[in-house]
């Protein structure tokens, strides 16, 4: 019996291989590494364009010029020798926007198209569309520093008074309502941001009654955002770039800037035999310019990060 058991054990643990043994192999070769569709990185696009004067520029010409007509001033005393209604002198220049080509091109290799999970052509189109949208927003946002009036300055924190002054300035220039305020997100949500004006904490500038918060503050505290603040329609735009801890947003009326569209986005696809793939090109043509300088105020402040 003992001999039998010994024999059995030696067979079970023998180097020559065991009956009923389990071995395993990897399935790496059969299972592809990427099993999920790709996710495109997101970016900010098209915040400013809907807020300004959009002009369709069909027909010939590449420079869109908008002359400004001086207003008539009414004299307080019409007994003067001159006319009671007098034409003022507008000191600005006609606003000119030169149209340019903007776009991007992507080369899709056929081998990549065949080997990809999901629709690579659709991803390429998204990539192109997103980049053109961001390019347009960037071109408009960089116009903010072209406005001569600046409510803030280098390395200063935003205060409620800056917003009051901006509103007062625009109103004094007879800029038509509504007034928009486009800021970097850090101008709103940070330890030095607008949100602090409404939080009822020790280090905030209270604009609410003692012991309670106002309705704007309730919006901020509940939703993290308020659509309107101090008379402005508030928008945040991540394309307002931060340079050396400064970022320039803008408080403006619609006619402060103009966007001149020659041709909207178009996607062209060309197959290249020698390179075995598709050249996918998206392009659009537009121009942008400051339309009326005194309908805007640059908001250059410290966006604490």
């Amino acid at each position: 019996m003992i001999k039998f058991l010994l024999g059995l054990f030696s067979k079970l643990f023998s180097e020559k291989g065991m009956a009923n043994e389990t071995t395993s192999t990897t399935m790496t070769e059969a299972i592809p590494t990427i099993v999920a569709e790709s996710l495109l990185e997101s970016e900010e696009a098209q915040v400013v364009a809907p807020l300004i004067n959009n002009v369709a520029f069909g027909g010939p010409g590449l420079v869109h010029s908008t002359p400004i007509i001086s207003k008539l001033t009414s004299e307080a005393d019409d007994s003067l020798a001159n006319q009671a209604l007098d034409s003022g002198t507008y000191t600005g220049s006609p606003s000119q926007a030169t149209v340019g080509v903007h776009g991007s091109t992507v080369f899709l290799k056929e081998i990549a198209v065949l080997g990809t999970v999901g629709d690579l052509a659709s991803i390429a189109a998204n990539l192109i569309g997103q980049s053109i949208g961001t390019r347009l927003d960037l071109d408009l946002v960089t116009l903010f520093t072209s406005i001569t009036r600046n409510e803030g300055g280098a390395n200063v924190d935003i205060t409620p008074q800056d917003l009051f002054d901006a509103y007062g300035y625009l109103r004094g220039q007879y800029a038509p309502l509504p007034y928009n305020l486009v800021l970097n997100p850090q101008h709103v949500w940070s330890s030095v941001g607008v949100i602090n004006f409404f939080s009822n904490v020790a280090d905030s500038a209270h604009f609410a009654a003692q012991g309670g918060v106002g309705s704007v503050a309730e919006d901020f505290m509940r939703n993290g955002f308020a659509g309107k603040v101090f008379g402005f329609d508030l928008f945040v735009d991540g394309n307002v770039t931060i340079t050396s801890n400064n970022a320039s947003g803008c408080a403006f009326s619609r006619d402060a800037f103009k966007l001149v569209r020659k041709r909207d986005i178009r996607i062209d696809v060309l197959y290249s035999g020698p390179e075995v793939g598709w050249q996918v090109t998206g392009s659009a043509m537009w121009g942008e310019a400051v339309l009326k300088n005194n309908f805007g105020a640059e908001m250059q402040f410290n966006p604490q990060t």
């Binding site: 003992i2 058991l5 010994l6 054990f9 643990f13 180097e15 420079v63 000191t91 600005g92 220049s93 606003s95 000119q96 926007a97 030169t98 340019g100 080509v101 903007h102 776009g103 991007s104 091109t105 992507v106 080369f107 290799k109 081998i111 990549a112 080997g115 990539l127 980049s131 071109d139 960089t142 116009l143 520093t145 072209s146 001569t148 300055g153 280098a154 200063v156 924190d157 205060t159 409620p160 008074q161 800056d162 009051f164 002054d165 020790a202 280090d203 905030s204 500038a205 209270h206 009654a209 003692q210 012991g211 309670g212 090109t281 392009s283 121009g287 942008e288 310019a289 400051v290 300088n293």
Partner: protein
Amino acid sequence: MNTVVEQQLKELQAKASNKDINIPGANLSDIHSELRKIREKSSSTSANVIPYKEIADHTNVCLYHKDGKQVGPIHPASLEETWERFYKKGIVLLVKKPTEVEIEAYKQTDEYIKKHDEFLRKRKMKDKSRKPDQVNRLIDKMDKLIGEKSVNILDQGQVKQAKKLNAKSS
């Protein structure tokens, strides 16, 4: 019997942990070096690379204030109009970005000192609207004038205390 089985198990485990494996001439740095070369060669395939290129018929450019502040980048055709707009407001913009030395030199000029003093005066006034706790300070001032401590009606503790005091005095 157990000792025999244990002994055999130990021998098998030792072989499985490769303690006795000896590849003549191989060392760790050689293996890593060869593996690195293999990876460099195998990365020459580019099926997973999507070449991308931006298309534009112009390059936006910047103008600069004398203290280094950037204006733009804007379309090159808009440069003259922008420069003129600032000039009419008394600000001369530069085409070339000023160096740190030039900026420091400008900050010593009367023009800058005058502008900066005016800027600081305005900021001092504006920053007052950012001072914290103004409502509480106002209430404290009012308390001093009245000679009584105000009660925060939203603070239950203070309200109860005030009720007790009122009940005692009446």
